[in-house]
Amino acid sequence: MAAKAAQVPRLALKDISKRFPGVVANDRVSFAVPAGAIHALLGENGAGKSTLVKIIYGVQAADDGQIVFDGQPVRIGSPREARALGIGMVFQHFSLFEAMTVLENIALGMDNPPPRRELEARVRAVLESYGLALDPHRHVHTLSVGERQRIEIVRALLQNPSLLIMDEPTSVLTPQEVEQLFTTLRRLADEGCSILYISHKLHEIKALCQSATIMRGGKVVASCDPRDESARSMAELMIGGSLKDLSDKTDCTYGEARFVVNALSAPGEPPFGTSLKDVSFSVRSGEIFGIAGVAGNGQNELLAVLSGERQAGVSGSLTLDGEELVHASVGARRRAGLASAPEERNGHAAVPGMTLAENALLSARNRMGLSSGGLIRSRAAKNYAAKVIEAFSVKATGPGAAAGSLSGGNLQKYVMGREIMQNPSVLVVSQPTWGVDAGAAGFIRQAMIDLVAKGACVVVVSQDLDELLELCDRLAVINEGRLSEPMDVKGISIERVGLLMGGIHGASPEGDAPIRPAAKAFAAEISA
């Protein structure tokens, strides 16, 4: 370590500040990344990580402060200048053209692409030397998310970067794909490339990184060696408080199946929507049932069909306590006790431009008597909103606050509270803690546990496998609109879940969906 510290750091930030209207996104941020190190940048959503890396990559300009690269103070005015310095970046959201091939996409992303043949040779060389499985001639729309990410990585590697920035790279990957990515990153670091790794997944950082900078509210609050810290201690640094444990739901007794879904099918929305194929599962009273899967495999469609928002072309059966609901309207399902909370808070679960009291009307007007005879009972709506705000400790000025003025975590608490306090028999929820700070996430998970303790059942759709493993009693995996057999979470095999997420169902009934090469590689790895 002493030798390394003596070296000139690859990247040093000095007092970087960036203000937006109403927010200071970065407040005198300073830290350094040594050459060949994998350095973690940790923080909750809104801590200022993304703004900081955008400054490093030249997407945004800092208001104050200095960037020193390989000992030289630099001004990075654009991503092109950043690439010229040797900074590569893999964004959380890919910018790829679905209708083009891998090679065409790579060429499009380069500043001075070489002739096609030469480029292909270089791409193949990079793929081979890092052991990345990817066919340069495949069209992007046929690729899995993990493979798409590899295109972005290859794009960055072709520029021979000396600093690679990865922004939340694992949020869309299966566990096997994550492991593969880590192998690649470790190799890169061994070759002397520094990696700035942005994440809020603590166990990944413990496994991968040698040093970490922790940000909160736009400031650097701590730096540490993740290998010496526990995930818990880092989480507490991140949220600036102590974490609460979820109450244990050991061996609680399950009642009989209350929410039964049988052979549910629905066509996908054209042109790229995923159709649901023969989805069946049942949830018992007192049970939390998880649905895992990589984004875009039919989760949104499933939620819309379960909540009743999508009715066209739906076949199969959906019963709650024996009552058939598959053709019931959204309102009828709510009256029967089926509550739902979609993934997107702003504009779907809540209207940002309306007050919290008005938002209470959205889904609670019938069950909670917030309207009668078509008239709004404003006082009742206000009271219910106030009750939710209090019971779920939502930070808001009151029922009159606009939903859009709340932070993501607080609005999510409000949305979940609005549904849970209606005492539903079954709650169907998608990504309940997506983009929510750790404190609020714990609160929301606890609220779901408390709900099932009263005999209700909960269906959680999430891409965050850790969350499902922590929360659920059983889970199933959705892939291309098909749901796997449910598995008990106790003693579950992560490899098996990962394979299911990658699309291995034992057999693929449709000829056009062959087993993906990447998944094949994992299968080989595991059987070895």
């Binding site: 109403g22 909540s307 997107e344 209207v351 078509g374 859009g404």
Partner: protein
Amino acid sequence: MSLVKLEPRRQQSRAMAIAAPVIAVALTLFAGALLFTLLGHDGLAAVNEIFVKPLFNPYRWQDLLVKASPLVMIATGLAIGFRANVWNIGAEGQYVLGGLAGTGVALATLNMSGGWILPVMLVCGVLGGMVWAAIPALLKTKLGVNEILSSLMLNYVAIQLLYYLMRGPWKDPMGFNFPQTAMFSSDQTLPIVVPGTLIHLGIPLAFAIALTAFGVMTRTITGFQMQVEGLAPKAAAFGGFGAASTVWIAMLAGGGLAGLAGIVEASGPFGQMVPQFPTGYGYTAIIVAFLGRLNPLGIVVAGLVLALTYVGGESAQTTIGLPSAATGVFQAMMLFFLLATDILVRYRVVSGRSAPVAEPRSSSGEAKPGESKAVTA
């Protein structure tokens, strides 16, 4: 770098939402004066003649109310739909169809008498407008046809239908071959509510409708549905409001009230049906709806402002020889400036040099200087 630039507000400015129409009217007056001066007229006199003089003439006030009432009725109906992002541009046709439906009743009952005739005419007027609006609603909900185009095109169909009826089946046999219907009887004409004036029953009716619509939009689940649909369609679906039902409510409200305005005009100021019946109220009402911020109470005020352009424009033709197109020019400028100033509701103007430092105080109540520097913890 530009001298000024627009910066998004964190919240929409309520003060600016009210101020924007006022600024738009002021800009219209200014630009109008300038334009007519450049065209060789006395621009200031034109503005004075159209926008100021009628206000100081009690007789003109009656005219104002008579012109405002159909505008308020139609705009109120349109605003209900516009709130829900249902763009009914076919109020002109719905107005004509309402007038025709009521006229049909009148022609069938020419030889009868009784207090029941006028109410039946009014109801049929409403239904006529609704039927015409139901066509784009059906096309939209069943086939996904854009209601802007279908409702707009039906306006021309409605006018041709009017011409056909005036020149053919409904022509007054005793009318010296003029293309118009017989005069309505006294049982078929709207009563005058203030004796000795032009103020007919349609005027209090328009105000009552605006008040009722205000209650519906703010106090009922249906009004809530329209607003949610407009602000966040996915949230409306989540709330259990069907998109199709929203389209139907919006189109029928707009069509019904336009139809009512039609029969009120036919049985009031016109007293018969004539080919000159459509006077563009259905289009002007779109401006009224937006100038009134889609709020029925605002629409009452906006209806009076736009009525002023009609009344003042007419008198300016005779007094200072302004072309009749002046009315349309002022109306169009008003909508244009309103749409332009509307950007200030969501954005504020800042100096282009050092963004957050210099902030004009004019950028409304809640955008206080220096606010953009505040830290939200």
